[in-house]
């Protein structure tokens, strides 16, 4: 019986060990090791795993061409489970035990910010993947963030949404955001935009990310009768909000903003027509204005790799950007012929990179020099059909004007 008990405990311990063990891609020779934590499980696991597939595609593409500086590239990564508390230990191990040559970030503000002090102490160049305004307080001159939120990310992120409100002459706004790093940064920017535009903020509250039913929140918002409703939410919240909004017939003229999850294939397919007329942020959608060299080939590879892996099947939202931030790093290493962080940082600051998401130029604070955060509107979405999202038309680009693909259907609902 003692053996049996030990066996049960050993299996449980093994499961924990497996869950936390490093996953190293096998390469031959003296590889260049790129280390990172990634949200492979937890709240952002769906996005993180699709990002990893994109990064592996980049690694394979680079290695097929002979690697970087003639050396193969190896990815060394650990699952941070979208848990900020795990991140510092992971980067400490990557830098001190695994002795990686380069580091990049996990996916999302909440798990990028905790890595910053560790990476800064080591003086490493740090490429960020969808961190919203992370460098605002750190002011680290070797941090570069691939999401095209612009030089003032918190505010630029939602600028397009409020530009639409301004053009339509809307007067009042309700703001609701989840109690977590990203969403709070998003609503902070929305609040600043609303004040800048002289809008009357009639509702401004946070909600716990674990909120199960959004009906009471939407009814409380509805009672304030706003023209605009801006949400900063995570995937499960966004689904709850859209469902509740449709059930109670939410009345406002402009609804959406910073809702994460409405870019994911499974969620878009399930919500179907319930998405129609929502205006939400995005970074890439199928549109003639966003056809950059290499994007179609990349998506083809991604969609083949993602099939059957329980991740986003379209790969429009995060994967191109995960591929692109690796492209920035790879192009910098090749151009400087070095892994020296000082040289790499100087090169990244002064260069415009050609990537699958278009030309990328970073500003002084490591954010995009000019914002290209999209505001898209869902239009004519039908029930239970994933293929419709592969084509132009169901997500119309409203802002910025430089890549606009159509005009807004207004109002959201009356």
């Amino acid at each position: 019986m003692r053996f049996f008990r030990q066996l049960v405990l050993a299996i449980a311990a093994l499961a924990v060990v497996v869950a936390y063990s490093p996953q190293v891609s096998a390469q031959s020779g003296k590889p260049i090791k790129i280390g990172f934590s990634m949200a492979l499980t937890g709240v952002l696991g769906a996005g993180g795993k699709s990002a990893l597939i994109a990064m592996e595609i980049w690694r394979d593409d680079v290695n097929k061409k002979g690697g970087l500086l003639g050396r193969p590239v190896e990815l060394v990564y650990y699952d941070d489970a979208t848990t900020p508390a795990k991140v510092p230990a992971i980067y400490t191990k990557l830098l001190n035990v695994d002795k990686v040559d380069l580091v990049v970030s996990s996916y999302g503000t909440d798990v990028i910010a905790p890595a910053m002090p560790i990476v800064m102490r080591s003086g490493k160049v740090f490429l960020g993947l969808f961190g919203l305004d992370v460098n605002h307080k750190f002011k680290y001159d070797r941090y570069f963030q691939i999401m095209p939120a612009g030089p003032n990310p918190a505010q630029d992120w939602s600028r397009g949404f409020f530009d639409i409100a301004k053009e339509k002459g809307l007067k009042s706004v309700a703001i609701a955001g989840a109690d977590a790093e990203f969403a709070q940064n998003a609503v902070k920017g929305a609040r600043a935009n609303a004040k800048q535009d002289g809008l009357n903020i009639v509702y401004d509250k946070s909600f716990p990310p674990s909120t199960a039913d959004f009906t009471p929140i939407l009814r409380a918002i509805q009672a304030t009768n706003p023209d605009i409703i801006y949400f900063g939410s995570y995937p499960a919240n966004s689904v709850g909000i859209v469902k509740a909004a449709n059930e109670l017939g939410l009345k406002a003229k402009l609804v959406g903003g910073g809702m994460v999850g409405l870019q994911f294939a499974a969620i878009m397919k399930n919500l179907g027509p319930g998405l129609n007329n929502l205006v939400n942020y995005d970074f890439w959608v199928p549109a003639k204005t966003l056809k950059f060299p290499g994007i179609d080939e990349f998506l083809k590879k991604y969609q083949a790799a993602a099939a059957g892996k329980g991740v986003d099947l379209l790969g429009h939202y995060l994967p191109p950007w995960a591929y692109a931030y690796m492209q920035v790093l790879g192009q910098s290493v090749e151009a400087t012929k070095s892994l020296d962080d000082k040289k790499l940082a100087e090169y990244i600051h002064k260069t415009t990179f050609n990537t699958v998401v278009g030309p990328v130029k970073f500003g002084k604070n490591g954010e995009w020099a000019t914002s290209r955060a999209l505001m898209i509107q869902f239009r004519g979405v039908k029930a239970n059909n994933l293929d419709q999202f592969k084509m132009e038309g169901t997500r119309v680009v409203l802002k910025p004007d430089t890549v606009k693909s159509g005009d807004i259907m207004f109002p959201y609902k009356q």
Binding site: M1, F4, R5, V8, L9, I11, A12, A13, A15, V16, V18, A19, L40, T41, G42, V43, G45, A46, G48, K49, A81, A176, D179, K205, S206, F207, P208, P209, S210, T211, A212, D213, T215, P216, I217, R219, A220, A223, P235, A236, V239, G240, K243, A244, N246, E247, L248, G261, F264, A265, A266, I267, N270, G274, K309, G310, V311, D312, N384
Partner: protein
């Protein structure tokens, strides 16, 4: 005060409370009556959600019917898990810390299995009534919340009647109170406990169906509910089925009313504050016995 807003806040709170009751019911039996800290219970609920997702997507089965069909399978799994737990820990009196580690490990195993087989993408179910609501006077009731509420009430009522009106049910209540006395009556406490544990896990199948009806699930989403579930069980009084229902309704109502009138971020504070005050005044919980 806007009557419509108030009435809708009450209605939403009651519906939400019903859902919380369904989620907490199984653990109320396992933790409250058997004194087994099954921290993996939310993982079983998520397992129920995934299997309901498979039946809904593969065969077009209604989520609630799928959940009910899965209950016997979950019962059998529960019996098996208890047998392992008993043989490895409870029999030798090592259940407190080692048992907790066992269930913690089990939670990881379940989560990792679903990550391997289903990935980490969000999963949702479809049913004709999801997305619609009925209007009763000033109150709008979404079917997405009404169906889980009704299912939770039926399940809670059935468990209550089973425990209070049948020999086996009374034996389960007895094993939680006096194991030796039960043995003297000729009943086998281990068999009684394994049936009770099986029933607790069986409720997770239906609770999982209700969870995935309300919102999307991913393998680790059950962790968000651990604190709330234990709070409901303690507030209701350990092992009391009516207490669990009443406590869940109180938590649901307080969350809804606070969300509507004060702000959503205050909802957990007020709910857990209510728990603390109740325990200060009545340490055994609302329906518990000292």
């Amino acid at each position: 005060m806007d009557a419509s807003l108030f009435l809708n806040a009450i209605a939403a709170g009651i519906l939400l409370g019903g859902f919380y009751a369904a989620v907490a019911l199984g653990l109320s039996i396992v933790f409250g009556q058997l004194d087994i800290v099954n921290i993996a219970h939310p993982a079983f609920i998520v397992a129920g959600s995934y299997l309901v997702f498979a039946l809904n997507g593969g065969f077009g089965l209604d989520p609630v019917i799928a959940g009910i069909l899965l209950m016997p399978i979950f019962f059998a799994v529960g019996v098996l898990v208890y047998r392992v737990y008993y043989a490895a820990f409870e029999r030798t009196g090592r259940e407190s810390l080692a048992g907790l580690a066992f269930f913690f490990g089990l939670m990881f195993v379940i989560e990792v299995l679903f990550i391997i087989f289903y990935g980490v993408d969000y999963r949702l179910v479809e049913a004709d009534y999801i997305g619609k609501q009925i209007e009763i006077g000033l109150v709008g009731i979404p079917w997405r919340m009404l169906v889980p509420f009704c299912a939770a009430l039926v399940m809670t009522g059935a468990i209550y009647l089973f425990l209070s009106r049948t020999f086996l049910g009374r034996a389960i209540l007895a094993v939680s109170q006096d194991r030796l006395a039960l043995q003297l009556m000729g009943a086998d406490p281990v068999k009684i406990k394994q049936i009770a544990f099986g029933i607790g896990i069986a409720t997770a199948a239906l609770a999982g169906a209700l969870l995935i009806m309300i919102g999307p699930v991913e393998p680790t989403i059950g962790r968000l509910y651990i604190g709330r579930i234990f709070a409901i069980i303690v507030l209701g009084g350990m092992g009391s089925i009516p207490g669990t229902l009443v406590a869940a309704l109180i938590i649901g109502l307080s969350e809804s009313i606070v969300t509507t009138y004060i702000g959503p971020s205050w909802a957990p504070t007020v709910a857990f504050g209510f728990l603390l005050i109740t325990l200060a005044v009545r340490p055994q919980g609302l329906f518990g016995r000292l």
